[in-house]
Symmetry: C2
Subunit: 399 residues, 2 copies
């Protein structure tokens, strides 16, 4: 990293004309170097090096190399993060390992605001384990009180995908440990959105995706962190050959690789990993503290503007900036149609059922002008009731 630079660094990204993009919390924008890197991997590495590229172009090492880059953004030491699969699969791996670390306990504690896929994966794991575990999901604000000595694992997403509400990572991890539970943090809406201190909080596992605030592109692979003192004792449920200590021995018996490498499963998604690696160059010189300051400033400005201009929208995120991630949500019964009208006018956020308008703030490529423009367009839609137009009412597949 060079000296800290000022945000935004819009010139590091391709931003389409006429678009104000407040959906980087769902899919980050295209970093400038990504297309060239994809072309290189496809035309040179694959096209000319072919199978040799696993060594000559260091494909085999991509999960570790990219993992180290992600580690640097979530406060994890080098060598403790690996990349691959999807976030749902990484949740499954972490949870399986965590449950087995507390064989005498039966509660997996999450919350009702967790992303559904995390809970589905937990439900599936429990049912197929043939055990009598329960997946308990109190309201987010009741999690701390629900941690007791029945809890095997506390599994939470730091920032609520719907409301942007942010858990107190330090306090919850401490409470989990005090009760003897294992802590898993899902950092889907944290990595690249705000400072994260995985090592400092001492959680056992952290997982996350890379296509949101890390701008890795559609379908970019997930990451998993395992606390280094534990990694060598994890017994992986998904024991794929690339998590083997010596995959090319092709031995009959699985022998897990040292450390977090055992959380690798199958052949890595080389193309997506290479694009992600190029995308991470956009973080050069960026301080996460500056990013957070910018995120708070943008979010606060947006709330102020929208509340002043659009009284029928209700803030659905915590008012206290410290209790939010890097998104702001407003509720409105016609949220779906309002969001369609916004998108039609080039202001892109997204809708989450039943009534949430979601706006993500990505200070790498947003400035106050973007935020004010978005509020202006939203005001126009509300004042003119443009959202009543038939074309905005039709629900197709949504994202």
């Amino acid at each position: 990293m060079t000296d800290v630079i000022d945000l935004p660094v819009k010139d590091r990204f391709h931003l389409p004309e006429g678009v104000t993009y407040l959906d980087g919390n769902s899919l980050g924008v295209l970093p400038r170097g990504a297309a060239a890197r994809a072309a290189q991997v496809i035309e040179h590495d694959w096209g000319n090096e072919l199978i040799r590229a696993w060594n000559s172009c260091d494909w085999m090492d991509l999960p570790r190399r990219v993992g180290d880059r992600v580690a640097g953004l979530i406060g994890a030491p080098a060598g403790t993060v690996t990349m691959g699969d999807t976030l749902s699969v990484k949740v499954f791996q972490a949870l399986s390992a965590a449950v087995e670390m507390r064989p005498d306990r039966r509660v997996i504690l999450s919350d009702a605001g967790n992303f559904p896929s995390d809970l589905y994966m937990a439900d599936g794991l429990v049912r197929h384990l043939g055990r009598d575990h329960s997946v308990v999901t109190p309201a987010p604000e009741d999690v701390l009180a629900a941690i007791d000595e029945s809890v095997a694992v506390v599994m939470l997403t730091e920032v609520d995908y719907r409301t942007g509400r942010r858990h107190d990572v330090g306090a919850i991890t401490e409470a989990a440990h005090a009760a003897g539970a294992v802590m898993i943090w899902d950092l889907a809406h944290s990595a690249g959105a705000l400072p994260v201190d995985v090592a400092g909080c001492n959680c056992e596992f952290a997982v996350g995706c890379t296509y949101k605030y890390l701008n890795g592109g559609p379908g970019a692979p997930a990451f998993i962190y395992v606390r280094p003192d534990l990694a060598d004792s994890i017994d992986p449920v998904l024991q794929g050959w690339l998590g083997h200590a010596a995959p090319f021995e092709m031995a009959r018996d699985y022998r897990p690789a040292p450390g977090v490498e055992r959380m690798r499963v199958g052949t890595p998604p080389v193309l997506q990993l290479a694009v992600l690696e190029a995308a991470l160059d956009a973080w050069e010189g960026v301080s996460l503290e500056s990013l957070r300051a910018a995120s708070v400033a943008l979010s606060e400005r947006f709330i102020t503007e929208v509340e002043a201009r659009c009284p029928s929208l209700t803030l659905a995120s915590p008012r206290d900036a410290g209790a939010r991630g890097s998104q702001v949500s407003f509720a409105h019964p016609e949220g779906f149609a309002i969001m369609q009208a916004l998108i039609a006018r080039g202001v892109i956020g997204d809708f989450r059922a039943p009534d949430i308008l979601r706006f993500g703030f990505t200070p790498l490529y947003l400035d106050e002008g973007d935020v004010v423009r978005a509020a202006e367009v939203l005001e126009e839609i509300m004042v003119t009731e443009a959202w009543r137009a038939a074309e905005y009412q039709v629900r197709g597949r949504v994202t």
Copy 2:
């Protein structure tokens, strides 16, 4: 599909100068349209459409659309194949479902020639299920005799990754069903290598990868087929949100999607899927029967040439072409060094421990001239003992 065309169709691929590539059974070569499609997905879809591309560029439908293309190459009806994850993960999904279809049985029957990752995944599943299943792995030729009423699942790879030996899919599936067992075929070395008739053999599950004979590129996603009469009753172990009947309802409870779609897990690897989709264009007009005829001709010619020129190499594949897939292996105690010397001379095959030189025949882009050249270079290496050079003896990471 248009009229059947003659093979090879070398002009559909980028083949590097000076290389004779007999490793398409490990990583297929670059199809001509792949780079342009990647550029389109990155620069247009991601860059300009951003999150809207899930709908406007049909990203969400990619696993089904590409699955239908793969279905056409493995004798499966449209709508019975979906794409995603890695082959190891798809093995885990199929096996978990299969085991639960025979709750009163305790044997998972595979063979000692199966790809290690398939066996590792089975071992992991069994151990973590907390059940008393055994993963039994007789020699490949003893599988048929080992099928009895203790067997819950027969899980085999049709073509042996080391020797190219091919199982009798029809006979084994019939025997499995006669004994009341569930049949899973791993088609990693079959799809795009020879005619496959998944529906005709009536197996319950088939899985495979797409970076070998389907030329999907490094890390291309896997496929899974579920027999349509069963798909609606599968209870997925990896119940990710994109296998949900209505993922964007974000409901608390998982409700599996109809059919094979429930085998989707997380966000699809859009970039890799799009490249794979472009790669599958290379099959336009290709008859799998012609492909097989060409594969047999190339393989037979190679065996004849090598046996005539290199008497110290021992054929490690079945001599009967009908009992082989689309690869030929030779054994030699110095196999590793010999393969390094070959690769240094532009003839690319690969090595599999302990002593196997592997050569894959991919009639889409190989002709007899390639095969004869490879045999000539191999002869030169054996006659001159060029493989004794120090640089070929050093084992680094291998692929």
